[in-house]
């Protein structure tokens, strides 16, 4: 278990929030854990089939893992070591299903009232009405059946039903996947309000990274049933643990290199030799640029590494009139915080409001930068244009190459 994970989970463990540990091989391999404090929103992120929903079902009590432990608000919901396994009814968990799972034969009001069966009938209906108003479902819709409600309205009913139990934990399974943009904005607002009002952990399962970064305080990246990394979205984005995590959080620029060791005369910095991918290119490492990047003190000098550069650490500039002083060469990078390299646009695909660009680096054969440009960083570029790129070296994150999951980048 990595130190930062322990720290991350530890922070959550102090607060009366959620702690999950799961380990199983069958029927689906799951490994790892995550945590979330009360009032925090944790996004469980990963590609389809990664096991996010399975993890969620374990937390909700719908499936029982081979071994695991779930503690919410100090109460033990599941502990296979001691044989404790509360059924879903006893857990007081609010679960909003991906396809809402509303009872088709009951009105919206009765659907919410279903979660309130302990109360007498009259009180049940008034509480249900209260919750429906809370999620801003118009009163004339309360008596309608789900079939005649829109997707967004159905989701609000599902949320109201989940909240009616006054749960100790709120789980949302891909809540935005089936919703149109307009309703989505409304739901973002609803979610923000809930975070503020409820003092419970909220877990959001999603494969949409952008949403996770937008809404979540913390993120847990899952792939093939394994929790790869936990932390705040920025932290993961800036410092992915390995190449797989880097891929999953959408870091497109991943390169090979060798860590040469601390940079003399520049405390806190070390030399990273940028190496070509594959057999093509100069075999002589000295011909390749050396970058002075942040030294986090974790990597043994001389070891091969993988390093990533987030898109926002790359700036596009007009090509310098004369030969760039930052032409590749030994020591050319000096001690500056940025490095400037000439680049040529290999392809530029314009899609609505974004541009997907691939830039070749002539000084570094076989290497290219992939960028998604949007908003102010967008330029009218076309294939064949010559530009300069300025790399912010503080954005470079270096990972040891022998870590499992450090596969060569896909072509």
């Amino acid at each position: 278990m990595k130190a930062d994970d322990v720290a991350a989970r530890g922070a959550a463990a102090d607060a009366p929030g959620l702690q999950v540990e799961v380990e199983q091989r069958l029927p689906m391999p799951l490994a790892g854990g995550f945590g979330c404090a009360a009032g925090e929103l944790l996004a469980l992120v990963g590609p389809s089939g990664a096991g996010k929903t399975s993890m969620m079902r374990v937390v909700a009590g719908l499936t029982r893992p081979q071994s695991g432990r779930v503690v919410v608000g100090g109460r033990v919901w599941l502990d296979t070591a001691t044989g404790v396994c509360l059924p879903p009814q006893a857990r007081h968990v609010g679960l909003v299903f991906q396809h809402y799972a509303l009872m088709p034969h009951l009105s919206a009001l009765d659907n919410v009232a279903l979660a309130l069966l302990e109360l007498p009938r009259a009180e049940r209906r008034s509480r249900a009405r209260h919750w429906l108003e809370h999620v801003q479902l118009a009163p004339e819709l309360h008596a309608r059946r789900p079939a005649v409600l829109s997707g967004g309205q159905q989701q609000r009913v599902a949320v109201a039903r989940a909240l009616a139990r006054e749960p100790a934990l709120l789980l949302l399974d891909e809540p935005f996947s089936a919703v149109d943009q307009m309703s989505r904005q409304g739901l973002y607002r609803l979610l923000a309000d809930l975070r503020r009002e409820l003092a419970v952990p909220i877990v959001l399962v999603t494969h949409d990274l952008a949403e996770a970064r937008l809404l979540a305080d913390r993120m847990a990246v899952i792939d093939a049933g394994r929790v790869l990394q936990q932390g705040s979205p920025e932290a993961i984005h800036r410092a992915p643990r390995n190449a797989r995590v880097a891929d999953l959080v959408g870091l497109q620029n991943r390169f090979r290199g060798r860590w040469e060791g601390p940079a003399a005369g520049a405390p806190g910095r070390g030399w990273l030799r940028w190496l070509p991918d594959g057999a093509a290119g100069h075999p002589d490492p000295a011909a390749w640029p050396r970058l002075a990047v942040l030294d986090k003190g974790r990597i043994v000098p001389g070891s091969p590494v993988t390093w990533v550069l987030p898109g926002d650490a790359v700036r596009l500039l007009d090509a310098a009139a004369s030969a760039s002083p930052a032409a590749p060469g030994p020591g050319a990078t000096g001690h500056a915080d940025t490095v400037r390299l000439p680049a040529r646009v290999a392809e530029a695909r314009h899609l609505g409001e974004i541009t997907l660009a691939t830039l070749d680096l002539p000084g570094l054969p076989g290497t290219s930068l992939r960028l998604t440009l949007a908003g102010p960083r967008r330029r009218r570029i076309a294939a064949g244009d010559r530009l300069d790129v300025e790399l912010d070296l503080d954005g470079v994150h270096v990972m040891p190459a022998r870590e499992p999951g450090n596969l060569p980048p896909a072509a």
């Binding site: 004339e140 008596a143 309608r144």
Partner: protein
């Protein structure tokens, strides 16, 4: 409680006015039906069950009605082929008195210990050729016309009771064998489960005729639509019809058993085409 703006769709547990009315209607209908059926249910349950060969259908119904009118108990009558009925008795059927069309079945039951004694001969039956209205066959008991009809193609189908378990069917086969017609008739035969069904087949339309019990041909319901001629009695083994009380039979069954020996019952049997053994022999 009706809320303002609520759509006219009932949520679970609440009735629309229409359904409520329908339910009331249904309840009333059921109550009426029960009242109608009740008399049938409350009627006096029969005191004994009599199993009789189906050739006795019309005769026995008359005799049992007389018996009841004369102060006797109410009886339940079950008809079928003698073979079927004796098989059912062996299987435990709740019959009290068995009137067989063939004494062999009674002896078999007696040997199996099911009867009180070896029974009493109550009648001798006869078979004959039954020809429905409009049939190309002639009611000729010597079966000459039948022979001709087979040859010239007038005959397509001919009904008899199943010889495997119906005495009247067995006798029909014997008579046909005697007349040398059995083999020729094979492809045309229609077998009734009992002689009553054979007669019904014979009058059903697609069948040109059959060999059935005299007693059935005499029944008013049948007689008006058929012509009939007896087959010579010596062409087959006699239909010695024997009856026996079964073990555990109640008094009512015993009474009826005795009643069948009375002159009035005997006269009824004679009217229905049976020959009465004089005096009622006990063997």
């Amino acid at each position: 409680m009706i809320e303002r703006g609520r759509a006219p769709v009932a949520s679970s547990g609440e009735l629309l006015p229409r359904s409520a009315a329908r339910r009331r209607l249904l309840r009333q209908a059921l109550a009426t039906a029960a009242a109608v059926a009740a008399p049938g249910l409350r009627a006096q349950t029969p005191a004994a069950t009599v199993a009789a060969a189906s050739d006795l259908k019309f005769a026995l119904e008359e005799i049992a009605a007389d018996f009841e009118r004369a102060g006797g108990a109410r009886l339940r009558l079950v008809f079928g082929s003698s073979g079927n009925l004796s098989s059912q008795i062996l299987q435990g059927a709740p019959f009290h008195l068995f009137l067989s069309a063939d004494e062999a079945f009674v002896f078999r039951l007696a040997d199996a210990g099911r009867t009180v004694d070896r029974g009493r001969l109550y009648a001798v039956g006869r078979i004959g050729l039954l020809v429905p209205q409009g049939s190309p066959l002639r009611p000729d008991g010597t079966l000459q016309d039948l022979r001709a009809a087979i040859a010239d193609g007038r005959l397509r189908r001919f009904a008899i009771a199943n010889p495997a378990h119906a005495p009247y069917g067995m006798r029909a086969r014997e008579a046909l064998q005697h007349a040398g017609l059995w083999d020729a008739l094979q492809p045309h035969l229609v077998l009734g489960e009992n002689v009553s069904q054979a007669a019904q087949f014979a009058t059903a339309g697609a069948v040109q005729g059959g060999l059935v019990a005299h007693s059935i041909a005499l029944a008013p319901a049948v007689a008006r639509q058929v012509r009939f001629d007896l087959v010579p009695a010596h062409w087959h083994r006699p239909l010695r019809q024997r009856m026996a009380l079964l073990r555990g039979a109640p008094a009512a069954a015993r009474d009826f058993h005795d009643h069948l020996a009375t002159p009035s019952a005997q006269a009824a049997l004679a009217r229905h085409g049976f020959e009465i053994p004089h005096p009622p022999a006990r063997e």
